[in-house]
Amino acid sequence: MEALYDQYSRRAFGLAYRILGDGPSAEDVVQEAFLILWRQADRLDPARGKVSSFLMTVVHHKAIDLLRGRRGETRRDSLDLPALAQDEADMLEGVAESQVRDAVSNALQSLPEEQRQPIELAYFKGLTHVQIAESLAVPLGTVKSRLRLGLGKMRSALEGRVR
């Protein structure tokens, strides 16, 4: 577990901090996520490289829950951890961390601003598509299509990059 912590704690803490914007809350989320990882360890298959995607998904979920809680919004259903542990590995598993970061950042930055912005509001701020439409003052239908188009472009860019 110590080795896993050494390997992934920078990424986990970076993500939690990016979402929450304060160190103590980010620490709590990262500690909770690693404990969950430890308790679920027998369900994970390190050979398939699922550990990091599992961990980062838990960190994201917990951090967004905390953020939504701060805004007085209802918390989501708890994560289905066994199902998450059984999920297929994500498309970037097995790719070196620095390459992944570059590939994802480039893919995100290459999107038109009008697509990048709603994706960031959804992923890093936990806003729903309705809230995004309100905060950007654009029609809901436009937000739906920008989220879908932007993510689709990211997927194509990442597939081209890592395969």
Partner: protein
């Protein structure tokens, strides 16, 4: 919700950016519709966004706290220290795995099950009113068991299938758990090589809300020390 709406919402869904009610409708649709292969790819792209956050070294105290916590949990498990019966571990299982039979179905199964058993039990009146029968599923869904409780006789008959036989230093222990979460050990058993067992226990389950089966050290434990492998609501 129609396919076209789900397609429109695919990006927001992949990013977990749907209000609860809409999310529920999309999930329901996806459970029964295979026409949206695009979503897996969008979901993968959304998951990759985690890498867009710059890495940051956490404070050193975090690692110490985490490893301390893990050591404590490991020590508790090694000591086999009884788990506090606070009800949360029960609710976790009851909420996810418990599926009550309708009464009629339960009685039919009780009759069918009894035919195959080498156990004679006196039933009263119409033979059905005193029978409580429930079935619980494990985490993995492989093992299953039944509890038949004959109230007048004060006998509970427990049968299990597909439950792995334990080594000699362990035993399955049956617990009656009251509404205020007090667990009382009511019997021990092991399963045959084929994973089956049936055991009749003299017990008063009047105040029991659940019957649970856990794996314990040989000879049993005063309180459950592991999560239930099978559980039923009485």
């Amino acid at each position: 919700m129609k396919c076209k709406e789900v397609e429109e919402l695919a990006g927001a869904y992949a990013l977990d950016a749907l209000p609860a009610e809409t999310l529920r409708e999309v999930r329901e649709h996806l459970e029964s519709c295979q026409q949206h292969p695009e979503i897996a790819g969008l979901r993968a792209a959304a998951l990759s966004l985690a890498a867009a956050a710059p890495g940051m070294e956490p404070p050193p105290g975090l690692k110490t706290r985490l490893m301390d916590e893990i050591r404590q949990e490991t020590a508790r498990a090694a000591e086999g220290r009884p788990r506090e019966i606070d009800g949360s571990w029960l609710r976790r299982y009851v909420g996810s795995a418990f599926r009550p039979y309708a009464l009629a179905g339960a009685l039919a199964i009780a009759v069918a099950a009894l035919i195959g058993w080498n156990v004679y039990l006196q039933t009263s009146g119409d033979g059905g009113q005193d029978v409580a029968i429930v079935r619980a599923l494990t985490d993995s869904g492989a093992a299953q068991g039944r509890v038949l409780y004959f109230q007048e006789e004060g006998v509970a008959v427990i049968t299990v299938e597909d439950l792995a036989p334990l080594p000699t230093d362990q035993t399955y222990q049956v617990w009656a758990i009251s509404g205020d979460d007090v667990a009382t050990g009511i019997g021990l058993f092991n399963t045959s090589a084929s994973g089956e067992a049936s055991t009749a226990l003299e017990v008063d389950l009047t105040n029991a809300e659940f019957v649970a089966i856990t794996i314990e050290p040989a000879g049993g434990s005063p309180q459950p020390t592991s999560d239930p492998v099978l559980m039923a609501q009485i």
